[in-house]
């Protein structure tokens, strides 16, 4: 669609991050609608992500029509988590001993997941590299 429009629109689309964020949001909107329509137990964002990947893969849209907008969204993604953190205000029971216990579970388990995942992949990586070098 974009490919057929004039060079001028294309150039504009490549420069405007806001317009590109709109395009990315359109994929999310479509994904959300599809999810609701089909009853898939997947978040709209994930369906939208797959749709966008398919469109990029079949070259329906060149990647430059989304690159700037996507980069901008990803660079400030942490902002979107900030309001959710304030949910702690509503859970007084998390303060005190139970809170300390829960926090310990989260801290230890998260560290374990990080270390185990990283080491698993790295060990496999070295193994395949050595294998590739040997053969």
């Amino acid at each position: 669609m974009v490919r057929r429009t004039s060079v001028l629109t294309r150039r504009f689309f490549r420069r405007s991050a806001l317009l590109q964020i709109g395009l990315v949001a359109a994929f999310w909107f479509l994904g959300d609608w599809l999810g609701r329509r089909t009853g898939l137990p997947l978040p709209g964002g994930v369906i939208g992500l797959f749709l966008a990947l398919v469109v990029l893969h079949v070259r329906g849209l060149p990647v430059v029509t989304m690159k700037r907008g996507a980069d901008r969204l990803l660079a400030d993604m942490l902002l979107f988590f900030v309001p959710a953190v304030l949910a702690v205000l509503d859970h007084g029971e998390l303060i005190g001993l139970t809170g300390v216990k829960i926090l310990s579970v989260i801290v230890i388990s998260t560290l374990a997941v990080m270390v185990v995942t990283a080491l698993t992949i790295d060990v496999c990586y070295r193994w395949t590299e050595r294998h590739a070098a040997a053969s």
Partner: protein, 241 residues
């Protein structure tokens, strides 16, 4: 004087004004925290820790409840939807790397997920937490929409799970860089997947700061690990109940 106070109160409680004020405050505190972090990059000055802390102080000072706050700023959390779609770009750009190394990523995601669920369950049991809390803790390392879906499925409290997910993300993102720097890692794949699997979106955002490849891999593994967990939740539910 009283009249003026009354006027201020009516103005302040008008939904649109209220939403705009809290949204602006949230964005402003975030930008401020980001600037602070750029100046002094210490883990405890992470924007995801500093901005909510400042907002919490403001909310407590103004006697504002979380319900009122989120009604005005929920749209910001909603932006996580488009942000998830945005990962299509880095994933597409790294498609060659992903196609070449997908067995590694799959191994990492499987082992990581098992570690997440098993260690949460074991530690919660060790600390003698009750069943509802224990179940709510299981899905914490996957992103919020998936985690809430999974918590409901296995009999946890989705609301509490959402809080645990956020705490996990904050902690993982805050310490990830330090932990990964201390491990003898050779590949960007390991760093990216580690953050994506352990600390979902917040970890992924942090991975994106470390590098392009790390960010793409983290985004991909975050999404796939979420999918994997949600689809395995019914089996897990039968195991824990």
């Amino acid at each position: 004087m009283l009249l003026q106070a009354e006027w201020v109160k009516t103005f302040w409680t008008a939904p649109l004004v209220h939403a705009a004020a809290w949204s602006l405050a949230t964005i402003a505190f975030y930008l401020l925290a980001k600037r602070l972090y750029r100046r002094w990059p210490r883990w405890w000055l992470m924007p995801l820790a500093v901005a909510p802390a400042l907002l919490m102080i403001a909310a407590l000072a103004l006697h504002e409840s979380y319900g009122d706050y989120i009604r005005g700023t929920g749209w910001l959390v909603g932006m996580l939807g488009p942000a998830t779609v945005a990962f299509a770009v880095p994933i597409y750009e790294q498609r060659r790397l992903i196609r070449r190394h997908w067995p590694l990523l799959l191994a990492g995601m499987t082992v990581g997920s098992i570690t997440a669920v098993a260690s949460s369950w074991g530690l919660a049991w060790l600390f003698d937490l009750d069943a509802a809390l224990r179940l709510s803790l299981l899905p914490r390392s996957i992103s919020t929409p998936f985690a809430m879906e999974m918590a409901g499925e296995i009999g946890g409290i989705p609301d509490l799970t959402a809080v645990f997910v956020v705490i996990t993300g904050v902690f993982g993102a805050a310490t990830g860089e330090i932990v990964l720097a201390r491990l003898p890692l050779r590949s960007a794949l390991a760093r990216g997947a580690s953050l994506g699997v352990a600390a979902h979106g917040a970890g992924t955002a942090q991975a994106h700061r470390i590098g392009q490849t790390e960010g793409a891999i983290a985004g991909l593994t975050m999404v796939l690990v979420g999918l994997m967990n949600v689809s395995l939740a019914p089996i897990l539910a039968r195991m824990v109940n």
